[in-house]
């Protein structure tokens, strides 16, 4: 057991008080004074159309309107991994709800009213509303006729004259031989539709261009520095550079990937440049939140697996066709990440994976907690369940036999690292009492079933994604840490405080971790990919070590104590050999120590830390995906569920669900458990009832919480048992690796497999609603 003082302890959140008192300010809570302007956008009513004419006259004439802006003023594209998205639609609109123009007015009601007065003449085109149609369309009316000219990262492979924005191939071993060696070859198809993030805070942005040329954006964002970079890039033709673009990000009311990168914020940035001197606010409504940010992409998976009679998997062939929507500047990397890892946490010698990013005329797909893994795990884990059944093998045993171990080759060729997958499987199996018979419900219309699933996920990020931290002491030995990760609920601020606390011997309550302002806080790539605890945690640890070294240097030099004897505890310098020695930080932390001659040494202690993984590479052979090391590490785990189904109504209740995750080292076990409880419910909702409905013209029919149901307090499982496994991550802070997204990944196959166990019915498309279950039973 470790003897850490603050690490591994369930410290109370450093932001807890701000949140339960309402002191925490979100973007829309900030005060901008009576000068504030409000913007509203003009939205496309069509999924695909050519813009023929825009008439803004009536809107401009409405009293209270300050400005009407169209795509003419901002003919710029932007994007994270591919520059395919527009600030305002230019010649074409590509999904229902896309912004075509905007109105700035003195009050929100006038802005909305004027937006309705903007007249846009469209020529409708045939919208491509599913992957099949989109793959057929190779003519001029494909979604992006200019695709060939778009900038994109080197690891994307768009296909000329098609709707394929990226084609990720993985080829390993010999698939033909693998199937030849197999005793059983099993094929099937699975469908996962789109989903919405549903953070409870809507997107919000306020922009202001000062008369001195500095553009500031206040945004509800997971990605302040990336936003600054994308704003500066997109607005460069107007003379903006990073120096005069600033992003300030207060508390964020939930992200789940939906507030990563840049979506509506760029509209606020552009609009602000048209009204110098005045702040302009753009708030997304709940409806817009659903259809004009990102959605989780839908996927159609075809899976073919070869196995031997003893359960050894010889081969996997998998095609993932992604409905990526109208713009894929972020979503194409979801497709990429899934392609690299679609073996799941299994040892499979022969692999062929095609992960294909297809443009459609539905809202832009993008990052959503799980980043493609929830999507392919549904099919894969359903499939493995059926294979175990056909082999007459216990499904947990089947999984355990094939589970990936340290040293096994990953699909892209690099070796797997040490991990606690087997321990996770065994502990979950025991906790759910897998080998004991299920309870038989007293009500004969009800029946119980159990499901099992493994899961894994690696952070998907550019190989040089980095984190930095500044750390400064104050006179009272309190600390401010400046970082640019975002507190989106996961407890990031608290964990960063715990890391610095451990190194410096200052309790977390004395540490403030400051939310980003890109002009004050140092660089961070983004708060995504479950990488922030690991990456920014390393940066904070290094900043704290830098500060500690300065303290130790000072004591060694001035007090002539051997540095190896010095340690820091409770805001004091202590000595291992002189137990009575205790020097309060307050004695020197700002003003230094005085020498006998009256001169001073030391001075304010300020630390800096940086972390960039230097061992990754996204460069690989495009035809096989071999040769690179695109992923820094995988977080793995196992999960099991017991459900009770009412045969008459199809309704599922959940007596128990168990999830074990190897997070390396739980820096704050309570926060880890919080991720498990929250993520699991979010995952269960995607499989049980969340359901996006589009009409045949591509319009989302249920963009609100009345019609798109997310869980309430009445929808919780009776019991969620979190299990923490800790096989340390060598390069993680105190051995930690990320675990935030993972907790929702196994939920869908858990339900599908438990349903099969209970009723022998295999549902291969999500969601598995009560209605669908009853329909299956009737058939």
């Amino acid at each position: 057991m470790s003897n850490y003082k603050y690490i591994g302890k369930s410290a109370v959140r450093v932001d807890g008080k701000a949140k339960i008192t309402g002191a925490a300010q979100f973007v829309d809570d900030l005060d901008f004074g009576p000068d504030l302007l409000y913007a509203a956008v003009v939205e496309s009513p069509h999924a695909y159309a050519i813009i023929q004419k825009i008439n803004t006259k009536k809107a401009k004439e409405l009293p209270g309107v300050v400005k009407v802006v169209t795509g003419k003023e901002f003919p710029y594209r932007f994007g994270l991994y591919m520059h395919d998205r527009y600030i305002f639609a230019q010649d074409r609109v590509r999904f229902v709800g896309e912004q075509v123009a905007a109105v700035i007015a003195n009050d929100p009601a006038t802005a909305l009213k004027a937006a309705r007065l903007v007249e846009v003449k469209y020529k409708k085109l045939k919208p491509l509303l599913n992957v099949g149609d989109a793959l057929q369309q190779q003519g001029v009316d494909r979604v992006h006729p200019d695709l060939a000219n778009y900038f994109h990262v080197p690891w994307f492979y768009p296909k000329k004259d098609s709707n394929i924005a990226h084609f990720r191939k993985i080829r390993r071993g010999d698939v033909g031989e693998g199937f030849g060696d197999a005793d059983l070859v099993y094929e099937d198809n699975y469908v996962v539709p789109r989903y919405a993030h549903c953070a409870i805070e809507n997107h919000a942005a306020v922009g202001k261009l000062d008369h001195d040329g500095r553009l500031t954006l206040w945004t509800a964002s997971q990605s302040p520095h990336t936003q600054r970079h994308l704003f500066a890039e997109a607005l460069a033709p107007l003379g903006f550079t990073h120096q005069n673009v600033r992003v300030i990000t207060p508390f964020v009311g939930g992200g789940f990937g939906g507030k990563a990168g840049v979506t509506m914020e760029i509209v606020a940035a552009a609009l602000a440049t048209t009204v110098p001197g005045r702040p302009v606010k753009l708030l997304w409504s709940r409806e817009q939140e659903f259809y004009n940010t990102y959605q989780r992409q839908g996927v159609e998976a075809s899976i073919k697996v070869g196995v031997k009679n003893d359960g050894t998997i010889t081969t996997l062939e998998q095609t993932l066709l992604w409905d990526a929507g109208a713009y894929v500047e972020y979503g194409a990397n979801v497709v990429n990440a899934a392609g690299l890892s679609a073996t799941g946490p299994y040892r499979i010698p022969n692999v062929k994976i095609d992960s294909v990013c297809v443009y459609t005329n539905l809202p832009p797909g993008g990052p959503y907690r799980g980043f493609g893994y929830s999507e392919f795990i549904f099919g894969l884990e359903s499939h493995f369940n059926q294979i175990a059944k056909q082999l007459g093998m216990d499904q947990v045993e089947f999984r355990r036999k094939n589970a990936i171990r340290a040293g096994d080759q990953l699909a892209y060729g690099a070796p797997m690292h040490a991990n606690g997958l087997l321990e996770a499987i065994d502990r979950v199996k025991q906790e759910i009492a897998w080998d004991t018979p299920k309870e038989i419900p007293s009500d004969s219309s009800k029946v119980r079933g159990r499901g099992f699933s493994l899961f894994w996920k690696a952070p998907a990020m550019p190989p040089n994604a980095s984190s930095t931290a500044f750390l400064k002491f104050n006179e009272d030995a309190s600390i401010n840490i400046m970082v640019s990760g975002m507190e989106i609920g996961q407890g990031y601020l608290t964990v960063m405080a715990q890391i610095a606390a451990e190194v410096l011997g200052v309790p977390p309550e004395k540490i403030r971790v400051e939310s980003p302002d890109t002009d004050r806080n140092p660089y961070e790539w983004q708060t995504v990919a479950s990488h922030i605890t690991w990456s920014c945690g390393n940066a904070v640890k290094r900043a704290a070590e830098d500060a500690r070294d300065q303290i130790v240097d000072l004591i060694e030099n001035v007090l002539e104590m051997p540095r190896d004897d010095i340690y820091l505890e409770n805001c004091q310098v202590r000595s291992k050999i002189e137990p009575d020695f205790a020097l309060d930080f307050t004695e020197f932390i700002i003003n230094g120590l005085m020498l006998p001659d009256g001169s001073w040494r030391g001075g304010p202690i300020v630390g800096r830390g940086m972390f960039m993984p230097e061992f990754t590479s996204a460069l690989s052979d495009p035809e096989t995906g071999q040769g690179g090391k695109p992923n820094v590490h995988y977080t793995v785990g196992a999960s099991a569920i017991e459900i009770e189904i009412d045969r008459d109504t199809g309704k599922i209740t959940i007596p128990k669900v168990v999830l074990a995750i190897d997070c390396g080292q739980a820096l704050n076990p309570d926060l880890v458990k919080g991720q498990i409880t929250g993520g699991m419910l979010q995952g269960l909702a995607t499989v049980l009832y969340e359901d996006m409905r589009f009409d045949d013209q591509g319009r989302l029919l249920n963009p609100n919480f009345t019609d798109y149901k997310i869980p309430t307090s009445l929808d919780t499982p009776d019991q969620i048992v979190p299990i923490i496994v800790e096989v340390p991550q060598g390069d993680g802070p105190f051995g930690a690796r990320g675990m935030g997204e993972h907790t929702m990944i196994p939920a869908a196959p858990l339900i599908a497999n438990a349903l099969y166990d209970a009723l022998g019915v295999r549902v291969k498309s999500m969601p598995i609603t009560a209605e669908k279950i009853v329909a299956e039973l009737i058939n």
Partner: protein
């Protein structure tokens, strides 16, 4: 039109448009920012406040309807520091992003005022109008239960 009412024990008045919601009036005109706007149609509960002691969604009430009423927001609950309920939420890390917290605290406060020892089912029922996307509700419900088990201290 002019309306006057009691807000967090103080008499206040405001000039409002007939179609203005109470949520909007509180946030924009009176600067009371704890009620949040998550949907503006009664679905999410982030705008929950107490109106004459009953929890309501302030996005569904017009400002002009509250003449003479007593309104309490989260700010008004803390007149002598954190309430025991808030302390329980704090100690148990009950919230994550915290956007739902003000509404949730109000809803739970109302529950405890009417029922000092609710069971799990009653708590789930009372909070069912307040959406939380982060926590899975369990830590919120557990914090209320713990408070109840400790005799409300």
């Amino acid at each position: 039109m002019k309306v006057s009412f009691t807000l967090n024990s103080e008499t206040r008045w405001l000039e409002c448009q007939p179609n203005q919601t109470l949520l909007h009036a509180l946030r924009e005109q009176l600067g009371v920012k704890s009620p949040k706007c998550g949907c503006e149609r009664g679905d999410c509960g982030t705008c929950t406040i107490l109106l004459d002691g009953k929890s309501i969604k302030s996005c569904l009430v017009l400002a002009c309807e509250v003449e003479g009423c007593e309104i309490t927001t989260l700010e008004g609950l803390m007149q002598s520091g954190l309430t025991p309920l808030q302390k329980a939420f704090l100690d148990q890390n009950a919230f994550q992003c915290g956007f739902c917290a003000p509404g949730m605290v109000i809803a739970a406060t109302e529950l405890l005022e009417h029922n000092s020892s609710p069971n799990r089912g009653e708590i789930e029922e009372a909070l069912a109008g307040n959406l939380c996307r982060c926590t899975g509700y369990a830590p919120i419900i557990d914090a209320v239960l713990d408070l109840v088990d400790n005799g409300g201290k």
